[in-house]
């Protein structure tokens, strides 16, 4: 992808100036708006700004989602509650995965549409699924199933566990990945959750616990699937020369939003690759840093196998070699390992904040604020979110 070389890397004109996170938990029984306001006010104050400074808002996936608790707070509610005067705002579900809302904010700042954009992602899946007794599956509501889903749901491929299980199965077949090796990812996240009192599941998890748990959609078992939760994360994206508190700034080095494969869960020619591979190529084409410079990785683990697609796409190991690479376990991906991975417990143990928990954690690590789980001297972090045709990744650096 040398076509990017010599062009302006616009994302470097933006910084993450503040971060916020509501209480995160199971069945909190609070509204999406209430959680969002907590996270938003925290992020705005953290940036050294006030509500009057915020002139942009961006969110994912907007109000369109049919899945219970998936999108319980609209931009309109947030704008009105905070009385924001906006130059720019946007929310939507079609784009490079959950981080698309972050990338839009970065673009808005870089192009001069706005100076300080509030980005939020809120979920109340735990409360909503409990109240409606509906899991996060497509086609269980009253509305007609459309888009790509109309070709999958009639065959009872109704859940992301089904769609992603197919990828995992193919990878195991082609490259010999075992469930024991895959299990290193949930075990790692659980070890990290024990160090972070905001994580949801913190009790020790053994390999036997993992292997003995019920299968959800083979080869994915219970502990390969993340934890629905209630919570909100927010960040403020500012023009690099407008951030008031430079001590807290996290710099944007490069992002990847590419989708060069087919925009579908099941039509990609190579079913061991996803958008993660496309995005990663774009990211590395936009920076002189390399995979060896990464101090910590916060990579999507909505399902454990998705972390493998990101690790492989980003080039932490050659294609197909996830199994042997993961076997080193804690020495490889633990807090004291070569690549501390998902240091907040990820979504597998920390809660399904749908991409933005990783972003919050990467910023905390780069600022040296990750109490009890700090990666010593962390200066470069990679964050990624999404699975299948949805994917986006970003390389962040400490302002040192």
């Amino acid at each position: 992808m040398s076509r990017y070389i010599g062009r302006r890397i616009g994302e470097r004109d933006a910084v993450i100036s503040g971060i916020g996170r509501s209480t995160v938990g199971r069945v909190l029984g609070r509204t999406g708006l209430s959680l969002t306001i907590d996270a938003a006010l925290q992020a705005i104050a953290d940036a050294g700004l006030t509500r009057d400074d915020i002139d942009g808002v961006s969110s994912y996936p907007g109000q369109s989602s049919q899945s219970p608790g998936m999108s319980p707070c609209s931009i309109a509610e947030v704008q009105d509650a905070l009385r924001l005067q906006l130059n720019w705002h946007s929310a939507g579900g079609e784009g490079p995965g959950q981080l698309g809302a972050l990338f839009n904010a970065i673009a808005a700042v870089s192009t001069g549409y706005a100076n300080h954009v509030l980005v939020f992602r809120t979920v109340t899946e735990s409360s909503a699924q409990t109240a409606s007794r509906r899991a996060s599956v497509v086609g269980s509501g009253s509305s007609r199933v459309g888009g790509n889903m109309q070709w999958m749901v009639p065959f009872h491929a109704v859940s992301a566990a089904n769609w992603i299980g197919v990828y995992a199965q193919r990878y195991m077949h082609d490259f010999g990945l075992t469930r024991e090796q895959l299990g290193q990812i949930p075990l790692n996240q659980r070890r990290h959750a024990a160090l972070y009192d905001e994580a949801i599941f913190r009790d020790p998890l053994t390999l036997d616990d993992y292997l003995d748990a019920r299968i959800i959609s083979y080869p994915l078992g219970l502990y390969d699937c993340d934890v629905p939760c209630d919570g909100s994360c927010a960040v403020v994206v500012s023009r690099a020369d407008a951030a008031p508190d430079l001590r807290k700034v996290v710099r944007v080095e490069a992002l990847g939003a590419a989708l060069t494969g087919r925009n579908s869960w099941d039509q990609r020619a190579d079913l061991t690759e996803t958008a993660a591979h496309d995005c990663s190529k774009m990211l590395w084409a936009r920076t002189d840093l390399t995979v060896d410079d990464v101090d910590t990785a916060q990579l999507y683990d909505g399902f454990s196998f998705l972390t493998i697609t990101w690790l492989e796409g980003l080039g932490f190991f050659p294609k197909g070699e996830a199994g042997p690479w993961l076997e080193a376990g804690e020495a490889r991906i633990g807090l004291g390992g070569k690549l501390p991975l998902n240091t907040n417990g990820g979504q597998l143990s920390g809660g399904r904040l749908h991409g933005y928990g990783y972003l919050y954690e990467a910023c905390a690590q780069l600022r040296g604020d990750a109490v009890g789980r700090q990666v010593e001297g962390a200066e470069v972090a990679v964050v990624a979110a999404g699975g299948g045709p949805l994917g986006g990744c970003i390389l962040l650096t400490a302002d040192r």
């Binding site: 070709w151 999958m152 009639p154 065959f155 009872h156 491929a157 089904n162 769609w163 299980g165 197919v166 199965q169 193919r170 077949h173 082609d174 959609s217 083979y218 869960w265 099941d266 039509q267 079913l271």
Partner: protein, 64 residues
């Protein structure tokens, strides 16, 4: 829907750009392997609606 059931992505010999997410029938999960040769069988689900499901035509050695 009774569990377990077998989901599959099926490649078509005469349409290499198309892969169908579908369900395999008349086969147990243990009997399924990647590369299994399958053929279509239509399940009628309403007066004018049929779903293309697939069943094995026999084992094959190599995956595609």
């Amino acid at each position: 829907m009774e569990v377990p059931y077998v989901l599959a992505v099926v490649g078509l010999d005469d349409a290499p750009d198309v892969q169908l997410t579908t369900r395999l029938v008349d086969v147990t999960p243990d009997e399924v392997q990647i590369g299994l040769a399958v053929e279509v069988t239509f399940e009628q689900v309403s007066d004018d609606l049929y779903l293309p499901l697939f069943k094995a035509v026999g084992p094959v050695e190599a995956s595609r």
